[in-house]
């Protein structure tokens, strides 16, 4: 068995994958705001990936075209977002009486679609949530503005536009003005009361926000990476930062 602690002074430090540089930075930013890091399974039950999140049985997102269903294991999917992880965390925190709570999770997600320069079957998503008595869109705006300024610089502008996702109501799109261009970077909103209920909490007493978006996309705009597929080739020429 080879040891990793060779302690060879001439050993240079290894290079980091750009997505993990961003992930570490993001964890740090959210951690400073009181968020707790959480991780969860990539192979997930239909319940946490869809049902608990108020995605109805007949919702188009469940179709074969978008979701990887597991063979010989009915009711299991490769997660299509990391909202499953934050949902599990809220449920657990509720059981432990740790409300208010705030969670952040970054991980691999999967979509069953053909790949090109901007689409990949696997990519990284950053997903966060905050639940308490008075957590509102104002807190969502405060947290995300702070996050993007830390990640991309103080001159970045952020705004909300109306949108729709089954697990939130109201639903919002998060847009950023970065280097004179507006980009859609996240979906967000206030957790739908059905979701709060599904996670064992009382929507009359607690409420909260959730957001989620691609980390690959942040990396691509921050560093001008031309093709999302470059992230998963195992090619060290990617590690330039």
């Amino acid at each position: 068995m080879q040891t990793i602690n060779e302690q060879n002074p001439s050993n240079k430090m290894g290079t980091e994958h750009p997505l993990n540089i961003l992930a570490s930075e993001a964890y740090k930013v959210f951690s400073d705001l009181g968020f707790e890091v959480t991780l969860g399974p990539e192979l997930e039950t239909e319940w946490y990936n869809f049902d608990a999140l108020n995605v109805s049985k007949d919702h188009p997102a469940r179709d074969m075209q978008d979701t990887f269903w597991i063979k010989d294991k009915p009711g299991y999917v490769l997660r299509t977002h990391t909202t499953n992880v934050t949902a599990r965390a809220i449920e657990q925190a509720g059981k432990e009486g740790r409300i208010p709570c705030a969670f952040i999770s970054i991980g691999k997600v999967f979509r069953n679609e053909s790949t090109d320069a901007t689409h990949e079957m696997q990519f990284f998503q950053i997903d966060g949530t905050m639940v308490g008595e008075n957590i509102s869109i104002a807190e969502l705006k405060g947290v995300l503005t702070h996050f993007y300024k830390k990640m991309l610089g103080d001159d970045v502008e952020m705004e909300f536009r109306p949108s729709f996702f089954p697990f939130v109501e109201p639903g919002l799109e998060v847009w950023l003005k970065f280097r004179d261009r507006w980009l859609e970077v996240m979906g967000a909103g206030m957790l739908h009361p059905n979701v709060i209920r599904n996670l064992g909490l009382d929507p009359e007493r607690v409420q909260g926000f959730a957001f989620g978006g691609g980390l690959d996309r942040i990396a691509m705009v921050k560093w001008n990476v031309p093709d999302v597929r470059l992230f998963y080739q195992g090619d060290l020429r990617l590690n330039q930062f």
Binding site: M1, I4, N8, M13, G14, E16, H17, P18, L19, N20, I21, S24, E25, K28, S31, D32, G34, F35, E36, L39, P41, L43, D58, D63, F68, W69, I70, K71, P100, C101, A102, F110, N112, Q122, G132, I137, A138, E139, L140, K141, G142, F160, R161, P162, S163, F164, E169, P170, E173, H192, P193, Q207, W223, V225, F231, Y232, G234, D235, L236, R237
Partner: protein, 605 residues
């Protein structure tokens, strides 16, 4: 969905100029795909959100919404629709499927099929629809105008009762565009005593097609279950504007408006042979109320919401409401199937007023009782250990040609999930080893941390190694082996900080794409007098090379013997435009060696 600005102005003559519409749509309603001028018109392509597709996939829908949003006049067209005189009818309709919520039909006799009036053609063409004949065009026009899909059959091609039912196994239909479709019981159809006439809500059939000889027609204005229509459309792979509207759940009350509008248009065409409407509407859409408090809305939006603001919005949107002390109770309009809970009203008020009114707030971090995530702490610790020991990080694909868990259908070429990281890492080591001189690495050392999938378990693994050997361990095993005493608490907070920011490294601003052409390496070794710094030699080499050198000169060997020092440098040549020839590289090398030779006390080896 395409919307014509001129068409909108029929209903909202005070509509702001088209230049102002991008902001209005984007910040208060939905995303704008494009805004294009078209002659004297302007066409908006907008993406109606799924929760508003019940009532906004039409010009009237958008016009009504804009009139309320902007507090401008809405010209209600229904009063102007001409009402025909009508005769008794013998038409028989039967609903046998649960998935048909309403079926209105009407015979119109002695019609004349021909070209449409110019304004109809113009309206349809403005949103990219081709004119077919006055009957089909009228049906389409009314759909794009009020949102209700309509179908017309040639009465003389029908026999017996019109029945809405599930298809029988093996039944077939030839669609209007001549596609032969095999049907299954999950598909709802419109049939008569002999034939399947149409795939309900999706596409009409050839057998009862309205053509230039048609004299008498049956108009169908129906309401079908959204899920049933969606499954059928997907199943037979036919997507139509009608199906798209039904899929989004239309209000069955819309049938009445559409019938009035269409018949009004037929009266304008000069048709007179109207018979009574046969309206099968077994289960009426229920009326419902929604109650909410201003306090709740304010608590969701995170801003003060004055009561006058809410009441003003309710009035503009023509909601009937009751204003109690703490509670406002509204009668939800039948078309607004999206309004069910107080949160829906928070969204209404939020988007109508605009989310720019919300001022961002940061909660105090101290209110959260956090615990350390053990798994994340371990991942971060393992990652840092490997980086500190010179291993570089890669990510490879989770899919593999073989494995214990596989996916049902994949858009890609691999359908199994990886059982280990080593296979991917080996490939990666091979690739990077070939590029080692480009990377400036004498030894390529790699690692990946990620999930692998065993028959009954998902595990996080750590794999690391080089071109010769890869080690792979389960995450906890790895941590126990190299840091048996560290606990999660101690590992965590510090490790949240990335290696990059800890080292205060200056990161480049931009990613540099590499060349896809092969590279060539050349080494130069020379003797110089002892004491001469390698950078002196490096400088001379650098001055004599060109842009074809993408890496180097890098010193890779140095030793001193008998008052002389030997230095060896490596140059890597590569072009972004082509595969370099030996000659091109040699020319540069010649330039370098010629220059070295001008230094009398330097000797090439």
């Amino acid at each position: 969905m395409k919307i014509s600005y001129n068409w909108l102005k029929w209903y909202i003559p005070d509509c702001p100029s088209s230049e102002k519409m991008w902001d209005i749509f984007t910040y208060h309603l939905c995303e704008v795909e494009s805004i294009e001028p078209l002659g004297e018109d302007v066409i908006f392509d907008i993406n109606i959100l799924p929760n508003r597709a019940h009532d906004l996939l039409s010009h009237q829908g958008i016009a009504r919404e804009l009139a309320s949003l902007l507090n401008i006049k809405y010209v209600d067209p229904t009063e102007n629709y001409k009402i025909p005189t009508s005769q008794k009818t013998e038409l028989k309709v039967k609903i046998e499927s649960q998935n048909c919520r309403r079926y209105s039909a009407r015979i119109v006799r002695n019609i004349k099929v021909g070209p449409s009036p110019d304004w109809v053609v113009k309206h349809l063409e403005s949103i990219g629809q081709r004119s077919i004949n006055n009957i089909v065009d009228a049906a389409n026009l009314v759909m794009y105008d009020c949102g209700q899909p309509i179908h017309a059959f040639d009465l003389d091609k029908l026999s017996g009762v019109i029945t809405v039912r599930e298809a029988k196994e093996g039944e077939e239909i030839t669609t209007l565009d001549n596609k032969q479709v095999k049907l299954k019981p999950v598909n709802m159809v419109i049939a008569d005593d002999k034939n399947v006439l149409a795939i309900a809500g999706v596409k009409g059939g050839k057998v009862a097609e309205v053509d230039e000889n048609t004299k008498n027609i049956v108009i169908e204005i129906a309401n079908f279950d959204p899920v049933s229509v969606r499954k059928t459309a997907r199943g037979i792979n036919i997507f139509t504007d009608a199906a798209k509207r039904f899929e989004n759940d239309l209000s069955a009350t819309l049938c009445d408006y559409a019938m009035r509008e269409l018949c009004g248009l037929f009266v304008e065409y000069g048709f007179t042979g109207f018979e009574d409407v046969v309206d099968m509407y077994p289960v009426k859409q229920e009326e419902h109320k929604l109650s909410f408090s201003i306090k709740r809305i304010a608590n969701i939006l995170g801003r003060e919401v004055p009561k006058e603001e809410v009441l003003d919005i309710l009035k503009r949107y023509n909601f009937y409401f009751e204003d109690k002390d703490d509670e406002i109770i509204i009668d939800v309009p039948p078309m607004r199937l999206d309004l069910n809970i107080p949160e829906d009203m928070a969204e209404e008020i939020g988007r109508i007023a605009g989310y720019d009114k919300v001022v961002g707030k940061l909660p105090s971090p101290s209110v959260f009782k956090r615990v350390v995530n053990d798994r994340h702490a371990k991942v971060a610790w393992a990652r840092n250990q490997l980086l500190l020991n010179g291993y570089s990080e890669v990510m490879t694909y989770s899919f593999a040609p073989k494995g214990e868990v596989s996916v049902l259908k994949s858009a890609g070429d691999k359908s199994c999930l990886r059982t280990n990281l080593s296979d991917g890492l080996k490939e990666s080591a091979k690739l990077n080893n070939l590029n080692s001189s480009l990377l400036g690495m004498t030894q390529v050392k790699l690692f990946e941390i990620g999930s692998v999938f065993k028959k009954d378990a998902e595990e996080i693994h750590v794999a690391y190694g080089d071109n010769k050997k890869i080690n792979e361990l389960e995450l906890t095993e790895f941590c126990d082996l190299f840091a048996p005493k560290l606990d999660a608490e101690a590992m965590n907070m510090d490790l949240l900080v990335s290696m990059a920011s800890r080292a205060k490294r200056v990161m480049p601003d931009k990613f540099t794409m590499w060349s896809l052409y092969p590279f060539i390496t050349r080494d130069i070794a020379l003797w110089v007098p002892e004491g001469l710094d390698s950078t002196e030699v490096q400088k001379v080499i650098t001055e004599n090379i060109n842009e074809l050198v993408v890496k180097g000169p890098d010193l890779f060997d140095a030793f001193t013997k008998e008052g002389k020092t030997s230095y060896a440098f490596r140059l890597v040549f590569q072009s972004f435009e082509k595969t370099l020839t030996d000659e091109e590289v040699s020319t540069v090398m010649q330039q370098v060696t010629d220059n070295i030779n001008t230094h009398t006390d330097w000797t090439l080896r």
